[in-house]
């Protein structure tokens, strides 16, 4: 089953072209790692696939649903972990988790939510306001959303950034679980070593073109 099918995607800011005519597909059960130099457009591509930005040309579909015309269906199946943690400072970790999943139309009983918090190792801090969380704890809470929400497509923008070793291991574990239930993962990173543990495919975005990597190059 094809998770992401992109055809001739292009993006330009005004007359400044970021990338042009990207075509690729990612299948269910695959983890695609996107590398590339600074300013190549990795984040931009990820945001387009997350329906946060419009492509200038071309189209893409997510699990068969068109990414431009059927945004709401696409949004149902994906989750994003980006630089912003998408958390409200005044809510507790538990409430944030509850609210975030409620917005996806998933209402869970408190027990499941607690389980999610425990799974990422912050069960003890569920009733603390996010304001008092450290950066690492926030990242873990975002992972808890994925653990419970079980999205079919997971988009990660530099997931290892500023995470310590335990955090990296946990992230990779959750990626593998997503793959195991036939989900798909796309991530951008500068860190080939860490990505090598989970990525099944990879590519380098450079000068506006995507160059696929072979198995050996990836590891």
């Amino acid at each position: 089953m094809i998770a992401i099918q992109a055809t001739n995607l292009s993006k330009a800011y005004g007359f400044y072209r970021i990338f042009e005519d990207l075509s690729f597909e990612i299948r269910a059960g695959e983890c695609f790692a996107l590398f590339g130099p600074n300013g190549a457009g990795k984040t931009t591509l990820l945001r387009i696939l997350a329906t946060l930005q419009q492509p200038s040309h071309g189209q893409f579909s997510v699990f068969g649903q068109d990414g431009v015309t059927e945004k709401d269906l696409v949004r149902q199946s994906l989750m994003v972990i980006a630089h912003g943690s998408h958390l409200y400072d005044e809510l507790t970790g538990f409430e944030n988790l509850q609210f975030a999943l409620a917005l996806r139309g998933q209402a869970f009983d408190p027990k499941t939510l607690k389980y999610g918090l425990d799974r990422v190792g912050i069960g003890a801090f569920g009733d603390l306001k996010i304001r008092q969380y450290s950066a690492g704890m926030k990242k873990r809470l975002a992972l808890a959303k994925v653990v419970i929400g079980k999205p079919k497509l997971l988009l990660l923008d530099e997931p290892y950034n500023a995470l310590d070793e335990a955090g990296v291991t946990m992230t990779n574990l959750i990626i593998q679980q997503t793959l195991a239930r036939e989900g798909a993962v796309l991530m951008t990173t500068h860190d080939r070593d860490k990505a090598a543990h989970v990525a099944t495919r990879g590519g380098i975005l450079q000068s506006g073109h995507l160059q696929h990597l072979t198995r050996e190059q990836l590891t």
Partner: protein, 225 residues
Amino acid sequence: MPFFKTIRWIVWKDLVCELRSRETISSMLFFALIVILVFSFSFSMDQDAARQLIAGIIWVSFTFTGIIGLGKSFSSELQNDCLEALQISPIPKGAVYLGKVLANFLFMLSVEILLFPLFILFFNLDVVEELGILLLVFLLATLGLSAVGTLFSALTVQIRAREVMLPVLLLPLAVPVMIAAVEATRGTLNGDPYAFYSQWIQLLVVFDIIFTVVSFWLFELILDS
């Protein structure tokens, strides 16, 4: 997600955040007090002049105060990029709009209700009889302001110089609502018969409907990338 559930969650989130921090309402309250003080004193009002201006002062200070609350309504969504999370959630965007309008309406109204006794004291108003109508005017005008204000709050939060642009864009649109509210309030406070100013109240109702419906439809475009 179902429409009404979304509204409920949005309102719940805004109210809980506010109850925790009490930032918006308390700062609105202070701001309003200071504005009233500054106005009254700068206009160095003796009793007679005050009677004429009081309706204007009420609504100018409420509008400016409201703008503070409206601004925070969406600027608080900027923390940790929460606005993006709202954008890419599979929820009806109209429901987000209505939830935000409701929350803003509640905040503004509670500030107004807390301030009103002070107005009565400060300006020696005599309002026992017309309290019902006055309340109606307050409800309608506040609804109008928050209906159009929520739209512009969402719009300005995504551009540069947002703190300034909200009042700059919103005030011109708020002027009709303000004028209607001022005239209706002045009529009530003067003890005029209802028929004298009923047209202003009707106008308020019309504005409310137009602003809510139009903003409801436009909001989706603004929130959706």
